[in-house]
């Protein structure tokens, strides 16, 4: 089967970007990716987005983004998988290249959240990724569903409050020198412990912020080596689902979909968890970051907080995790997040992560989670030199 290479990337700053609309963000990231790839045309566009219909009254996003990118006539698709929309768009693009139908494809992840100014409305929009009639109906939000998971996880493994603080503390530390990150300041354990609870036991500082942003990548069937003879290949990807609703799962703290997606991606790449040298995980909440690490198989169940606390997950550690600050501090523009992770992984492997560069990894994985783990995408990139 054909190989898939990443040949260009682009991203916007994340935050409440009042002066930039949905199309401005998508175009900024899309054009940057094409410029970095050195191409002015692609065969198709895949747009990862979750909520443009609700937040921006704009569906038909494939045509919309293609139009503003000045790519008339090309095939364009919106891919939706809740918070995993970005990862799902990457996988869709990769499948299109592997099929032989397209040679070069642009993936754009975008979410414009701040146009909806009332928090209750954004909370509702996000909650549409849960089961509408039997979770959301009762007033569930993503925070409250993750709160149930966090409490069950803490009880299962006897974890204390501070054990969950290590994740956001590392994320804030990492994001502090990343130019495009949303929350560029460090936090202390004291600040974490005194942070208000938004849905007990989840604290404000366990949660990723709301923000606007767009990230893009160009995937190609042809290799493109940089000046140092390095290229990056998408060697494995896997998607998997789990039950829509949390209450129908056998175990609240086992992300079966995440495990399956990781297994599929690693089988395709022919690698094991021990081979991974850098990770991008979906820390929308601290507990979700921990469950991602466990689903990837890089730590034993219940031991993820120790991996972070030990310093092994620092940029200079043996297994850097989210060197750019993850969802918690780099930011979480929902449908764009999976593409941010993918772009960051690509930049780590090609040695172009700037201040966030974590050594010189040759193999890394990104895990992008939709819903409470109901739709998960894992991608694995390898440096070729």
């Amino acid at each position: 089967m054909r190989e898939v290479y990443v040949i260009g990337s682009g991203l916007t700053k994340i935050g409440n970007l009042w002066d930039k609309g949905l199309r401005d963000l998508a175009v900024e990231a899309g054009l940057a990716a094409m410029e970095e790839a050195g191409v002015d045309s692609v065969d198709a566009v895949f747009v990862g987005n979750m909520m443009s219909g609700i937040l921006n009254a704009q569906e038909n996003l494939g045509a919309y983004v293609a139009d503003y990118l000045g790519l008339p006539g090309i095939p364009a698709f919106k891919v939706e998988a809740a918070c995993a929309s970005g990862g799902a768009a990457v996988v869709s693009a990769a499948m299109a290249i592997k099929s032989g139908l397209f040679d070069r494809v642009l993936v754009v992840g975008v979410e414009k959240m701040s146009d909806m100014t009332a928090t209750e409305d954004v909370t509702s929009a996000l909650a549409t990724a849960s089961e509408a009639d039997y979770e959301m109906f009762w007033g569930a939000s993503f925070v409250s569903l993750n709160a149930l998971i966090m409490r069950a996880y803490a009880q299962r493994y006897g974890l204390r409050e501070e054990d969950f603080g290590w994740m956001p503390i590392l994320m804030h530390k990492n994001a502090s020198d990343v130019p495009y990150a949303q929350l560029r300041f460090p936090i202390t354990m004291e600040a974490y412990l005194s942070s208000p609870k938004i849905a007990d036991p989840i604290k404000l500082l366990d949660s990723a912020p709301m923000g606007d942003g767009s990230a893009a990548a160009v995937l190609s069937a042809s290799e493109r080596r940089d000046g140092e003879g390095i290229s990056v290949a998408l060697v494995g990807f896997g998607s998997a689902t789990d039950t829509m609703a949390l209450y129908t799962r056998e175990d609240l703290v086992e992300l079966k979909g995440a495990k399956l997606a990781a297994k599929r991606a690693m089988e395709m790449a022919g690698v094991t968890p021990r081979d991974l040298q850098v990770l991008e995980v979906h820390d929308a909440f601290s507990v979700m970051g921990y469950l991602n690490l466990e689903a990837l198989g890089v730590v034993e169940p219940g031991k993820a907080s120790r991996l972070i606390e030990s310093g092994d997950a620092d940029r200079s550690g043996s297994l850097p995790v989210n060197p750019e600050g993850g969802l918690k501090a780099r930011g979480h523009p929902v449908g764009a997040t999976g593409v941010y992770q993918f772009v960051e992984l690509y930049r780590q492997l090609s040695g172009r992560a700037g201040p966030a560069q974590a050594g010189s990894p040759e193999l890394g994985a990104a895990m992008n989670v939709g819903g409470t783990g109901s739709n998960v995408v894992v991608t694995i990139l390898r440096r070729v030199s």
């Binding site: 609700i54 009332a118 928090t119 209750e120 409305d121 909370t123 509702s124 929009a125 909650a127 549409t128 509408a132 009639d133 039997y134 979770e135 959301m136 109906f137 009762w138 007033g139 569930a140 939000s141 925070v143 409250s144 709160a147 149930l148 409490r151 069950a152 609870k197 938004i198 849905a199 007990d200 036991p201 989840i202 039950t243 609703a245 949390l246 209450y247 129908t248 609240l252």
Partner: protein, 137 residues
């Protein structure tokens, strides 16, 4: 949009589950859940039927919501819970008639019909079975 304003058709459609706890039972693996389904999500069997689930159970996990989605601000702080019914079926609902501070893991609860959502100004009202601490046994 349902996320912001419930309309009458979905309210009517979901009444059996929300008013009477009508769920489904798989005759091959025994799995029970809400709402009724045509295919068992655990084993894939289509050998399933509708079943009335018991109205009592206990709290397995719960959380207190302080920041609510649109339409639920009135109830804050409110308790959402994963509940195990007397037959072992797990469902998700809101607790009512209880101080959030007094909810404990394992607390026995029973279903009681309550208002859940009002669709905008003067819109339709959606009711459902919330759960309250068991008053008597």
């Amino acid at each position: 949009m349902w996320a912001f304003n419930p309309s009458i058709p979905p309210i009517k459609r979901e009444m059996p589950s929300r008013y009477r706890l009508e769920g489904f039972e798989c005759h091959d693996c025994g799995f029970r859940s809400l709402p009724p389904r045509q295919v068992c999500p655990r084993c894939g069997s289509r050998n399933v039927s509708r079943v009335r689930l018991p109205r009592r159970g206990r709290v397995l996990q719960h959380t207190v919501v302080h920041s609510a989605p649109r339409g639920y601000e009135f109830y804050t702080p409110y308790v959402l819970a994963l509940i195990e019914l007397e037959d072992g079926t797990r469902i998700f609902s809101q607790l009512t008639d209880v101080d959030p501070e007094e909810v404990t893991q394992g607390m026995e609860v029973e279903a009681v019909l309550r208002k859940v959502r009002v669709g905008g100004h003067g819109g339709p009202v959606a009711y459902g079975l919330k759960f309250r601490p068991v008053l008597e046994r």
